[in-house]
């Protein structure tokens, strides 16, 4: 009988595949994971505390820094909570601009997600191919908002500015091209035999467990649970668009990846419809909002579907110009709650595959 011994392996915080400063303390038996202890907090900036010392408007740029890959969606979630608190009406045109810029943000985020995932699995080319289209997306967003990543485009009661001339046509043209690019990724990454061998039946997440552990976004839908806030309880103008919610079957890494892939095709449909509809709308992009934002005493919770899952903002007002308390329900953070059990029994290489398939964003995890 050979005597074997378990040992600890520090996976991170400085590790190329943790997508930031995230640490997993792995207890290994050879290459097999016996226990995993996720440790986060290396990027904790105390955003929630900072919010208490800022005015409502000043906090918008901080939300960018949570998920800097899909900044518009973060802005949107926050302003929705404040609007709910104040009872502000958002003009129709602003809602459409939010949809277009938000879905472009989602596209940018999903491109990174699939790109870095193929990098995690070991295919470097997929990463750079995804970056090619992301660059176009970033350029479009820059033209709209003036910033590539930290957009701060949403305002309480609307959006910062109307689309520049010809911008919508550019987006439309890009959206015409996008499906062929997605076909290309499918050909290079999704259809690859080794990629499928690496990701199928790895990190299986059962639908009951996923619901119980509050996992959201493509990670939840990969398990076959049909819960997309855009469909389940449409906010903004999402009830006017015709789109499908892609679902997985087995809840393994491949399904989670594939959900993101298919979601990109759906968001192309959404943007195209939004551009069609916005052309018939005229009006302001920001509603009637007082100069100094002083919501009435009370609290509000609003949530939207971002690229990582459900982002929720809980805002408490005490009647002053500064929020009394802001809490962010971060999808990446909560999706990690089940990581330990998910990793057990898999190999070191699978740790990378599973962690990557959850698509976490450390700015959001550590808040």
């Amino acid at each position: 009988m050979i005597r074997t011994q378990e040992y600890n392996l520090n996976f991170g915080p400085q590790h190329p595949s943790t997508h930031g400063v995230f640490r997993i303390l792995l207890t290994l038996d050879g290459e097999r994971v016996v226990k995993a202890e996720p440790i986060c907090g290396y990027l904790h900036r105390g955003v929630e505390k900072l919010a208490e010392a800022r005015t409502y408007t000043q906090f918008i740029p901080y939300t960018d820094r949570l998920d800097y890959l899909a900044a518009m969606l973060q802005n949107w979630g926050y302003v929705m909570a404040v609007e709910k608190l104040m009872g502000v009406e958002v003009p129709e045109k602003a809602e459409y601009m939010r949809v277009i810029s938000g879905e472009l943000s989602r596209l940018a985020s999903h491109l990174i997600a699939i790109g870095t995932y193929s990098l995690d699995i070991g295919a470097f080319t997929g990463f750079l191919l995804a970056f090619r289209e992301r660059e176009t997306t970033m350029d479009l967003l820059e033209e709209l908002t003036g910033s590539r990543m930290t957009l701060s485009y949403a305002r309480i009661g609307g959006v910062a500015a109307d689309a520049p001339d010809g911008w919508l046509e550019k987006v439309d043209k890009f959206m015409d091209k996008m499906p062929t690019c997605i076909d290309e990724y499918d050909g290079l990454i999704t259809g690859n035999e080794i990629f499928q061998a690496r990701t199928r039946e790895v990190g299986v997440l059962k639908p009951e467990t996923a619901i119980n552990y509050s996992i959201s976004g493509p990670s939840l839908r990969g398990s076959g649970v049909d819960y997309d806030l855009r469909k389940a309880k449409p906010y903004g103008v999402y009830d006017r668009f015709d789109f499908d919610v892609p679902l997985g079957k087995n809840g393994d890494c491949f399904d989670r990846f594939d959900c993101r892939m298919k979601e990109m095709r759906q968001l192309v449909r959404i943007i195209k419809q939004a551009i069609q509809q916005i052309k018939e709308i005229d009006g302001p992009v920001i509603g009637k909002v007082p100069k100094v934002i002083k919501p009435p005493v009370g609290d509000a919770y609003a949530e939207i579907e971002t690229s990582k899952g459900i982002i929720g903002y809980y805002v408490v007002s005490d009647g002053s110009p500064k929020p009394y308390r802001v809490h962010v329900r971060r999808p990446s953070f909560i999706n990690l709650g089940y990581l330990d059990e998910m990793l057990r029994g898999y190999l070191v290489a699978d740790v990378v595959a599973i962690l990557g398939s959850l698509d976490i964003m450390l700015g959001e995890v550590d808040c």
Binding site: P16, S17, L119, G122, L128, A197, A349
Partner: protein, 348 residues
């Protein structure tokens, strides 16, 4: 005229040293040959790093290095220059002797192997009669060096890398040797020049296609290239065995990878692609250039593989080696044996 360029140089050197006793004369010529091979490998390794980056750029719709020198040709030289200037960090828990020995020795197996490789007609430094056996035996030594590096680093990631390298060697050396057996059965010799001579009319890639595939896969695995680059696996093991190496020690491993590729491609060329023989009667191109072209075609394929495929997982690697390649190579030997018997029975 070009055909016998190098042979001519060697003969010229011999006659130049004609006054010396025969043994000394031969020793000097041999030394010159080996130094020439050394230079050849090093220049090739430098060039291959550049080529890989250009191929990667080509695959990934980028430009690649284009700043240092014309078309970025001197990029690798600049990189090596930088790495030479850098400190080699030896952290306090390493096994210092073994740690430093590994990068020093990493080129040795490769250089030794090159001694028997025939680069063209009559262009092997030594044409041993057990050349192939020697090549296989020495070629697998490099695993030992990776294991040394992984062990001496005293880093768990490196250790995992080292362990993987041994496991990989054990399970891929076997199908590799078994695949070659098919070729040896036909030629009946282990001598490189005999093996090439047997391919004058038909390359073994056509008569032994399965052996070629197995050998190619196994040799990609042997030189730790994607999709079998498990011992480096930068996304999981953070470069595995060479995590702790920096400066020139790292560069040695880096260059050795390309030198190993060169060996693998040379072996594929010798065993399956007809060595220096010109295809389609294109004899006006000298034999050594043909050898070179064939080698670089293989090299290009290996590079394309790396930039297209994801990495395989360690249990899948073992499974593929033992459950697919080994049985397949055994079957290949069996079929080759029957085929040869029938061949003789017909009396062709």
């Amino acid at each position: 005229m070009f055909e016998n360029l190098f042979v001519g140089i060697a003969n010229g050197l011999r006659s130049l040293l004609g006054g010396l006793p025969l043994e000394i004369n031969e020793a000097i010529v041999m030394l010159v040959k080996l130094v020439a091979i050394l230079v050849f490998i090093l220049v090739n390794a430098l060039w291959l790093v550049y080529m890989e980056r250009k191929v990667a750029a080509f695959v990934q719709a980028r430009i690649g290095p284009n700043r240092v020198g014309p078309k970025g040709l001197l990029q690798t030289t600049a990189d090596i220059g930088k790495l030479i200037c850098k400190e080699i960090i030896i952290h306090k828990d390493t096994d210092k002797l073994v740690f430093m020995l590994a990068p020093m020795l990493v080129f040795v197996p490769t250089l030794m192997v090159f001694a028997v490789i025939p680069f063209g007609k009559n262009m092997a430094a030594i044409d041993m009669n057990i050349g192939l056996l020697y090549l296989l035996a020495i070629g697998s030594l490099s695993t030992l060096i990776f294991w040394m590096a992984g062990w001496a680093s005293n880093n768990k990631y490196s250790l995992l890398g080292g362990m993987r390298s041994v496991a990989q060697m054990v399970s891929y050396e076997l199908p590799m040797v078994l695949a070659i057996l098919g070729v040896i059965m036909i030629t009946g010799s282990l001598k490189m020049s005999d093996i090439i001579a047997a391919q004058e009319h038909t390359w073994f890639i056509f008569s032994q296609p399965i052996a070629f595939l197995i050998f190619f896969i196994a040799s990609v695995s042997e030189c730790n290239r994607a999709p079998f680059d498990l011992i480096e696996a930068e996304s999981e093991l953070v470069n595995g065995f060479n995590t702790e190496y920096s400066g020139m020690a790292f560069a040695m491993f880096y260059l050795a990878e390309y030198a190993n590729m060169l060996v693998s491609c040379a072996m594929v060329t010798i065993l399956f692609l007809g060595g220096w023989y010109a295809p389609f009667g294109l004899d006006f191109i000298p034999s050594w250039l043909w050898f070179f072209i064939k080698m670089y075609v293989m090299m290009f394929i290996i590079m394309q593989l790396r930039w297209t495929y994801p990495r395989i997982r360690v249990d899948q690697l073992m499974g593929f080696g033992w459950k697919v390649l080994v049985p397949l190579s055994l079957a290949n030997i069996f079929v080759t044996g029957i085929g040869m018997y029938i061949y003789r029975a017909i009396g062709w």
